[in-house]
Amino acid sequence: MTAVELAGITKRFPGVVANHDIHLTVRKGTVHALVGENGAGKSTLMKILYGMQKPDEGTIATDGEQVTFSSPADAIARGIGMVHQHFMLADNLTVLENVVLGSEKLYGIGARARRRIKEISERYGLGVRPDVLVEELGVAARQRVEILKVLYRGARTLILDEPTAVLVPQEVDALFDNLRELKSEGLSVIFISHKLGEVLSVADEITVIRRGTTVGTAVPAETTPRQLAELMVGSELPTPETAESTVTDRAVLTVDTLRLAAPGGKALLDDISFTIHAGEVLGIAGVEGNGQTELVDALIGLRHADSGTIRFLDQDITALPTRKRREQGVGYIPEDRHRHGLLLEAPLWENRILGHVTEKPNSKGVWLDPKGSQEDTRRIVETYDVRTPGIDVTAASLSGGNQQKLIVGREMSHKPRFLIAAHPTRGVDVGAQAAIWDHIREARREGLAVLLISADLDELIGLSDTLRVIYDGRLVADADPAAVTPEELGSAMTGAASGHLEHEEPPGDDGSGAGGAEDDDGSGAGGAEDGDGSGAGEAGGDGGPGAEKIPGDAGRGVDKTPGDAGSGAEGEAR
């Protein structure tokens, strides 16, 4: 029996296709995982299933019956419930009040509702007490309240959007027990995640989605994380290989034992050290939420390090504000272009000024130079092939790829010495992707130092001269992009491997060990290979206690970077 069947779902937003010909079949009494990189279109798909958005094409069927949803209320009426990644609970109300809120008609708001809540809680082992204030509950307990809320409304199919992102491992195990309980009672669960290990342990079936379309299904028993990663990341994209090495020995950016802590004292970044040379692209691989956002913020000056130093050329810029850093030649392609890279309702030429208001051709002294920047915007539009009818249209009216080309053009126009490129080709079509890669490569030949952060492992491996893996705010491993495979990187990204990653050698066994964190001559893999043997011990040590203590941080770290929400297909729609 199928609980939910989606067939041929296509959803277009102006300029982007968020979902394209998606097929998804969820059987009753199973946990069905939906995996894919951020921005692959998972959230859009789930919004369609939950009635928040209407598909342009395709059909939805529940219990074998074709339906159309025009609002979440319709979806709830058909037994589909959603547990959002960000909880929707009122802190100063009790659990009971939160649960009945909005569905007072079901069981009233008094004794009957309380009985029903207890009944559901016991039946599925949720352990929810109805009369506690929500503010007194921890994250995991709140999540169970959210699940109960959905069940209370009569859901038979639950959508869980990245439910483990906010949980520590023990809580994850407890959640999975709950899910199995639900499953055994005949309910279905759609589990959205990009953590492959978890998916394999809890799911009965897996559907992989990439670039807005379903690229395959898998059965956990017959699948390894590597195969899944391959499917998720794909490998038939135009390969961004860099032909010859242009790495020089002139250090452009040197980061030394950088540490950044959350207000509570937890380290978001710890012991980060690396050097990027002129003409070098340093790629940072990692599952989103492991400190990449914080690292970028620290480098551009949006957050200031608690300890450690950042040197740019021959100057200590640790304490410099963002504008000074940008003036001195730090370019920035932000991860979330809508939040950090553009003024959506301003014309293109004003967006060309953004971030470089103190520099030519945008200003002369304290005065703006609209003529100059308009002229230069026309040049950028031509050189970088930004498809737009003019420079007076708002940035919001361009498609995501064209917005990104404008940003790349703007940053490159100021001849940066060091470029922070966070997901430079996310949500960008294949043609624009190749063009952006070309621009980065060209600047690199001219001596640009690049920090590349990407979720696309092919992009990382293809463009980078040196690779580091970030896990839980630390650089845990390094690799030679010429020798490493996406699968090897993938295992380090989940914290399973550390040290220097090399072919046919068990991870962590070769001498370099925690070279990623320690050794900052950074001249690529060569240097790391000769690393001292003592590193291995440290790397091993990291795996042990780290796994116990750090995951808490890792989980909450994700909380602060709602990757899926801000970026990706949904973001394009605006």
Binding site: P14, V17, H20, D21, R210, R211, T213, T214, V215, G216, T217, A218, E222, T223, T224, Q227, L228, E230, L231, G234, E236, L302, P321, T322, R323, K324, R326, E327, Y332, R339, H340, G341, L342, L343, L344, E345, A346, E350, I353, L354, H356, V357, T358, V366, W367, L368, P370, R387, T388, P389, G390, I391, D392, V393, A396, S397, D429, V430, G431, A432
Partner: protein
């Protein structure tokens, strides 16, 4: 490209025109509901606008509205809601009056001194809210409302005879200012005098436009208003920008009461006009924060104020003008948002259409299916 420019003008005008039309219709409905002629009051008020003495009154009143609205508008441009313009201008007018009554420099020094006093007082008062927001995250709306209240109390204290007050009959005043601080008006003959500081209002309007649209600082301020996160990433220090904007807004607000103080009353008394700061909010909204738009809105408001007393002589209530002002503000908020969203969506569609007509990107969507774990 020209097409888009024309479109922007159209969009800019559509909002206020729709709002005014709706407000007129609704006011007429109010009149009909109270059993009165819905057209005659407007005809009377339009007639008033033709009299030169009323015109002088309108211009004088509008100058103060204009400055107050600029003060509000500069806050709006970076998403700050300085609701405390009212307290800021009253306190500033009072300190200027006190300084004017006690210091006696030559006019060339005295007038700048009084202007500076008003600017600093206004900036100081709004700066309190700015510092609170910057350091403790206190909402500037709440802080400035509270400060309005405190300003009233401070004014009451300064009026005490043993502080700076001078009792004239039943009236509290700050004493007559020295004549060196009086700003001569522009003589319009029988129609009266236009305040000399009307020129200050014009200069401030030009300055406002220049600073916002033609300076780096103005760009940073507008960027902060459009997207705080993008502005921060571009190198704006968000906290400092909040404080700066609050200080400028308060400094401007401080000048709002001066045209009448230096041009007419020459003392700060119980009769001094109140509520200009609150009216300024509506005027800034109607004027879309643009210096030209605000000028029209200020004149419109002043016209409603100064033409409405005539209604009492014809059996209508002059409060119809107040109702109208309220309806305009309501209609403005709704129509601007509607027009803005409509315009944005329309442009997106048009850009999409133009590109589709030109060329389509070679998007080779990858639809190939694979199965893992074969």
């Amino acid at each position: 490209m020209k097409k888009f420019d024309k479109e922007r003008v159209l969009l800019a005008v559509a909002g206020p025109v729709i709002a005014l039309a709706v407000a007129f219709v609704l006011s007429a409905i109010v009149l009909i509901a109270s059993g009165k002629n819905p057209v005659e009051p407007f005809a009377l008020m339009f007639e008033q606008a033709g009299f030169s003495d009323i015109q002088v009154l309108i211009v004088n009143q509008a100058s103060m509205y204009y400055i107050a609205a600029l003060a509000v508008a500069i806050g709006f441009r970076m998403n700050l809601f300085n609701i405390g313009v009212d307290g800021q201008y009253q306190l500033a007018a009072m300190t200027a009056a006190i300084v004017g009554a006690h210091a006696d420099l030559p006019a060339a020094l005295q007038i700048p001194l009084l202007l500076l006093t008003a600017v600093l007082t206004g900036a100081f008062w709004s700066g309190i809210a700015g510092v609170l927001k910057m350091t403790r995250g206190v909402s500037e709306v709440v802080a400035t409302i509270m400060l309005n209240s405190i300003a009233t109390a401070v004014i009451g204290y300064l009026w005490l005879p043993d502080v700076f007050g001078v009792k004239i009959g039943n009236n509290n005043t700050t004493g007559e200012m020295h004549e060196s601080g009086w700003v001569p008006g522009i003589d319009m003959g029988a129609a009266g005098e236009i305040y000399g500081l009307v020129i200050l209002a014009v200069v401030l309007g030009i300055g406002y436009w220049l600073v916002l649209n033609r300076t780096r600082f103005g760009f940073d301020l507008r960027a902060s208003g459009a997207s705080e996160s993008a502005a921060a990433a571009s190198g704006v220090n968000p906290k400092r920008m909040v404080l700066t904007a609050m200080l400028i807004s308060g400094g401007l607000a401080g000048l709002a009461g001066l045209p009448i103080l230096l041009g007419d009353t020459h003392t700060y008394s119980l009769n001094f006009p109140t509520g200009i700061g609150f009216l300024g909010i509506g005027i800034a909204l109607l004027g879309r924060n643009s210096p030209v738009g605000i000028a029209f809105a200020a004149l419109l408001w002043a016209w409603l104020d100064k033409a409405s007393p005539e209604l009492d002589f014809h059996g209508y209530d002059k409060e119809i003008a107040v109702i109208m002002q309220g309806l305009i503000v309501l209609a403005v908020v709704v129509s601007y948002e509607a027009v803005r969203e409509w315009g944005l969506r329309r442009q997106q569609r048009r850009v999409g259409a133009e590109l589709a007509a030109g060329h389509v990107l070679g998007a080779t969507d990858n639809t190939e299916k694979e199965v893992a774990g074969r």
